[in-house]
């Protein structure tokens, strides 16, 4: 029985972890290039969730079609927010960008609330289940995981094989040196911020494919918290690290429950949280830059 549950939770953990990883890549990208901590991260995830909801419930379209649309919405939001606020605050004390991203998050939450209301919404995209003997897995979750992996691979290829990706990597390495070499650093900053927000908003769609309920303007808070743990776990400046951090986090969250459930008199969920933050603390103490170095 224990092994059956553990195997089931391992599979669920991998699937969930890949979506968590994708949802954190934007946060790491923005920090890696601009050194801006986006504390409004969860609100951008929430926007993506509403894009998926709008596509499915209003337009009657498959949520997969919502992924590029959410990415485009994110790019637009990112560029607007970058030129309206972040650009002016890049050389201000860190607190200024923290407050700006926090404000952007609140602004988004209240705007979405004005448009859609504060109800908890959801959609039903039923594409069947796969029965794995030890657990059942909905196809929508598998597609969300595959979508996350595909986006992570595309981002990797884009970074490695395109001029824009090289420019971004050079700015991460040495922004002054990049400027001397003729790279438009301000343009790279704008592109990185927009790309980071685009990835974050797109991840909101993937998250709803995993959990298509509880969509409301204030749903992002929990994801912000998790994203920070994952980002530190994988390397705060590394989008790929964040992806692998997500996988590890998903596995820890799911499998540790089964192990902790063996201890009599404890609530396993409480201990899984404890473990997640204990790992975060240990990593911060021994390797503050995260497990995987930025590339």
């Amino acid at each position: 029985m224990f092994l059956e549950q553990l195997s089931g939770n391992l599979v669920q953990g991998v699937v969930l972890g890949s979506v968590y990883g994708m949802a954190t890549m934007g946060l790491s990208l923005i920090f890696g290039v601009l050194k801006v901590v986006n504390v409004g991260h969860g609100a951008f995830v929430m926007v993506g969730a509403f894009v998926a909801l709008f596509f499915f419930n209003t337009l009657g379209l498959n949520p997969i079609f919502a992924i590029p649309a959410a990415f485009a919405v994110g790019i637009a939001l990112g560029l607007t927010f970058y030129y309206a606020a972040i650009r002016k605050l890049l050389h201000a004390p860190e607190l200024a960008t923290l407050l700006a991203t926090f404000s952007a998050g609140v602004l988004l939450e209240e705007t979405i609330k004005m448009i859609f209301g504060s109800e908890f919404r959801g959609y039903n995209w039923d594409v069947g289940n796969i029965d794995l003997v030890f657990t059942a897995l909905p196809m929508s979750k598998i597609l969300a995981a595959l979508g996350s992996v595909l986006i992570a691979v595309l981002l990797y290829v884009w970074f490695k094989r395109t001029r824009a990706g090289s420019a971004m990597r050079s700015v991460v390495e040495d922004s002054q040196g990049a400027r001397v070499c003729g790279i438009n650093v301000d343009g790279v900053y704008a592109m990185s911020f927009a790309l980071g927000i685009g990835l974050t908003v797109a991840s909101g769609v993937l998250l709803t494919m995993f959990i298509p309920v509880g969509i409301n303007p204030y749903m992002g808070g929990g994801y912000t918290l998790k994203a920070f743990v994952i980002a530190v776990l994988g390397g705060l400046s590394s989008p790929y690290g964040a992806f692998f951090g997500g996988l590890v986090f998903g596995l820890i969250e799911n499998t540790s429950y089964t192990v902790f459930a063996l201890i009599p008199g404890v609530e396993p969920f409480a201990l899984t949280r404890f473990l997640s933050f204990l790992i975060l603390l240990i990593i911060l103490l021994i390797r503050p830059t995260g497990i995987i170095k930025a590339k």
Binding site: S118, G122, L137, I211, G214, Y218, Y223, R273
Partner: protein, 427 residues
Amino acid sequence: MKSFSFKPFVFLIVCLFFFSATSAFAAPPDEIVIGHPACLSGKYAKAGEQAVGGIEACIHWVNSEYGGITLDGKKVPLTYKKYDCESKKENVTSLIGRLITVDRVDVVFAPYSSGLTLRGAPIAEGHSMLYMDHGGANNKIFEQGFQYTVQTIGPATSYHKGTLDMVKKIAPDAKKVALAYEDSEFATMVMEGAKTHAEELGFEVVFERTYPKGVTDMTPMLSAMKATDPDFVLGGGHFEDGQLFNRQMSDLNIDVDCLSLIAAATLPAFYEALGNMAEGVMGPSHWEYGVTYSQEAAKEIGTRWIGPSQDEFVSLFKEAVGDQDMVPDYHAAEAGAQVLAYVLAAEKADSVDSGKVRAALGDLEFMSFYGTWDISDSGLQVGHSMVDVQWQDGKREIVWPESAQTGKPCYPMPTFDEKAEGEKALP
């Protein structure tokens, strides 16, 4: 040497006597103000919006139909002063202080949820201000020795009594119950009451686990629950986790004969989010449209009736929120009924003094569209009974108690596979 003069003291005593005499025989106020740190945004915004609509609907009824509160023979209108507490504890405390000291309200209505209600109670208590609780069901609020806190919503421990009684009666073979709930003050108290009652009825609690607030994945817990093969499940906590609970039970193909979720399952948004997957799911509710409380019912049990009829309340609510499509749920009804309780108590006390109104509330028994009202010495609501609703063919039917039924219960509910193929929960 100058002799000591008593004249100033005599003058002072006369002034004090005159002041206290005029205070004692003070004319009724021009208006009576209800203060409310309402949850208009944040995680309880939905319940808060409903509560505000219910309060405004009943205030409108009191002022326009009832003519206001009769104090010393004069009809005094009710007014409503609210602030948005953003569903945050720290805001509740400061706003209650502001309502009492700056806005000089006559009574404070608590915000939604047990946690926020409990946070505000000591502030109201410190100002000897009547604090009326319409959305905090946790019994512990009334175990703190507060003198000025009274409850309209029913106590948390009674939420699942009806569900358990129903299963016991219609499915005597059902033995195993699983309890899985949010580790909030409210849900913990609900499940404590459910566990006690389940054991009294001879059910075996085969699984009992909690999950944290804001949980985004319940798969590990639900997988463990599935392994215990329960006949029925009682669970939930608030809105979002209730939807997630049902959804992930479906994902994992956990079929049970009955699933009852607190808070979430009774809301229209629950069915809108889950669709056919919500068929057959039950939830305890303080009030549902269709309940049979009326002037005639009040007469039958020999108690006083006050307030609009059920249909009048619905109409006033829609007018108050400015949305003809919005339907009041129990959050609106319990908040509205609280206004009516205050009206009767203030009239009985012939005063708006918190101590006197609190004493009058202790002796008060009445019926409104929300049901019966009676509180214990500690302020806990003991007069109100709950109903159990079940989603049947996209509609909420009151299935328990039998005396309030608008439909028979569907037991066992269809499996998730059957529901995926479009089967409805029909008795």
